[in-house]
Amino acid sequence: MSEQLPAPDFDSQSYERPNQKWICGHAAEGKPCRLGPDQGGHCRASSECAPVLEIKPGETKGRWRCTRPGGACETGPLPDGKCGRPISKCSPVATLRTRRGQLTRGVVAATAAVLLIMLGGPWRGKFINPGKLSTPHSGEAFAKFHAGRNGDQSCGACHTAGALGPSGMIFAALHSSPGPFAIKELIEAKAGEMTALDESCQKCHTSHLLHQANVARNISCSFCHQEHRGAGPIAAPTDGHCTLCHGNAETMLASSKIVAASPGGSGIARNFAADHPEFRVQSEKRRDPDTLKFNHVLHLSGETIPKPPNGEKLDCRFCHQPDAAGRYFRSIKFENHCQACHSLQFDPETPDLSLPHGNPDFVSAFLHSLPRQYADFAARSGMARPAEQNQFAQEKLQRLQARVGTGEDFEKRVFFSTATSGPETQVGTVRGAMHALYPGCAYCHEVKADDGGKAHITKPLMMDRWLAHAEFNHAKHSGLSCSQCHQAEKSQMTSDIILPAKQTCAACHSPRGGVADSCATCHIYHTGRTGRFARLKANGQVDAAAGVEPVVIGH
């Protein structure tokens, strides 16, 4: 069956017209009529010819003559002049070209209908919306907030054209700036220039000074914030947005003249690994101002460090516990992280009786009322009779005085002692310690005496975050050990700020490391009057007067 088929024979006198719209219904039988259908697809068949009346000289009636192409027929015209061979009518068939045209017109009509319905109906906003708005600009909270402004929560809230009909949209398009046909202006437009749409943004975001105070010129909101990119937080600006200023020496120089001591100065930063400045904590060799005495090396590797209640070796995780989101760590608290080892048990014979923590006045009051404290302890221990309780208290006081001398001496020791080894090798329930677990407040705290000899303890200033302009997520870095970034095993002083240097971060956050290294990965933009940093400041969570700027106080 692989042989070629011969071309079928066909009447060479007959031919197809490529542009004809309709073909005779008899064509499928090989007998198309000579006239064929008209342009409208109507059959024009009547008879094989149109007879002609010929009247010869001298004749009165004349004679009908057959005019059939190809020769007169045998029967000839009828006496009344009609052709004697009528052709049966057919149903003309549309050519593929005609059907294609019909389909095209149908599709065009359907498209126009769909567009008119969608643009004219209540679905218009949803239909032309190029993408969901960010969560801050949508949802119930936004609607409630916006209802108090101008009430319009549809497209028209930001876009004037959103409240117009089709002709209004065309008018708005033609009068946009730059206009549709202003190709030169479209090419020469300057990045970040304020636009008419910014007026809509500023109806709610009333101040445009959202960044540092040293911004050389206002940047259009929509330059950085691309809306209609889906729900959730508004899309983060790209590096291109940041380097518009931070990658331009001229702009940064102008910026530095506005506020000379601006963070970052006039430096150019286009790429984190290449030219981003070292963190100022590192480059300016800043020190932790906290007065609490803490030695990371000792706690992590000291031989005298007992095991915490969980029985495991003391490590970073015992004190640095992640918050609910895992981004940062919960604040260090004495009760949660220190007390297990650093108990406030002052009397080895009465380990269940401890000094209060948190307020030196309470400690002083406790010491001044020791007989009462011992008596209350006796009552809590099951001694019902007051005489029995008082006797218990007296015996305890006598034995304590035998060890510590007068009450005044004891109070001084409690507050001011910095002894690293005490007379006892075991305090309370904790065994194996080489020295007293509670040598005195000054062992950990800065304790100062006033002129009257009264102890004052400097409140510890525990830093939750050192880089308050930046975002960090510890949970995303859980694949790394703490010591890969934080050199805690080398830190003996509280003043050591054991943040990693930039190069440590750039080992991963760089094109070579393969991890995101865009500006927005770490930085918050709106740090000025109305941004997140300002909100932190307003809430008392930011303190710029602590010698380092900014810091977040432990809470």
Partner: protein
């Protein structure tokens, strides 16, 4: 080197050159020009209009606008180039939203049908030439009718009329000869339907005498020619049908594109 290959190499080279230039320009200017999206949009719309003009050019053969073949070559390679422009205009992201999504789908359907048409117009004519039996598509119904009449004359009204052949014709062949058939098998180059009929004819042959066998041979030849007509009908129809997708959707695409221009400028940052 044949002319076709010269055209192919030249077109491919120019397409590669233009695409590389467009991507390089995108990397250079996409961040530098704030209104870059509008500019790429105009370029893309211009390219689409150029593609659409090809259809108009075909309707105006009397105008000295270059040969239709040249226009077709421009249409093909410019069509591929618009894919690059389309991706650049989208900034290589998937569009969201009903309107923009529909516009993108329309573009993909028009482009996809165009590519399909290009492939079909390269593959099917070769298959038709290999099979032989060259015939003009519009003549196929008449030829099929002629074959049917020929077969009926043989089976039903021959000089040596055979009831067995008449019954066999009515049962097995009349339906096959009545109209076009086996569209998909022919398109997929399957001979199974023809082989099935041929097997029926062969099995029927042993019950016939000499004169009936001669008639059956003629019927077998008619069946083969009818199958050839069906083959031409299927392939030539396919060569024409892809335009039923490509052309109507092109008009829809143009309408959506023009509305897109209005919307992006009406809702642009420069409009209040």
């Amino acid at each position: 080197m044949k002319r076709f290959h010269r055209q192919f190499l030249l077109g491919s080279f120019l397409l590669l050159l233009a695409s590389t230039g467009a991507v390089m320009a995108h990397r250079r200017w996409s961040r530098a020009l704030p209104d870059y999206g509008y500019l790429t949009g105009w370029v893309l719309l211009g390219a689409i209009i150029l593609l659409a003009v090809y259809n108009a050019r075909k309707k105006l053969p009397f105008l000295p606008l270059g040969s239709s073949e040249s226009w077709l070559q421009i249409h093909i390679y410019a069509g591929f180039f618009t894919v690059v422009l389309f991706l650049i205009h989208l900034n290589f992201r998937v569009p969201t939203g009903w309107f923009e999504g529909t516009l993108a789908w329309l573009y993909l359907l028009v482009t996809g049908s165009g590519v399909a048409g290009l492939i079909l117009s390269r593959v099917l004519p070769r298959r038709l030439a290999t099979r032989g039996g060259e015939v003009i598509y519009e003549r196929i119904p008449a030829l099929r009718h002629s074959l049917r009449q020929e077969a009926e004359a043989l089976a039903l009204g021959g000089e040596m009329k055979s009831p067995a052949i008449a019954e066999f014709y009515a049962r097995q062949l009349s339906g096959f000869l009545a109209g076009p058939g086996n569209f998909w098998p022919h398109l997929l180059e399957s001979r199974r339907p023809l082989n099935a009929i041929m097997t029926e004819l062969e099995e029927f042959r042993r019950y016939l005498n000499e004169s009936e066998r001669a008639t059956l041979e003629k019927l077998r030849d008619i069946v083969r020619r009818k199958d050839g007509l069906d083959y031409h009908h299927a392939l030539q129809r396919t060569l024409k049908l892809w335009l039923f997708v490509h052309l109507p959707l092109t008009y829809s695409l143009m309408m959506f594109s023009l509305l897109h221009v209005v919307l992006v400028f009406a809702f642009s940052a420069g409009t209040r």
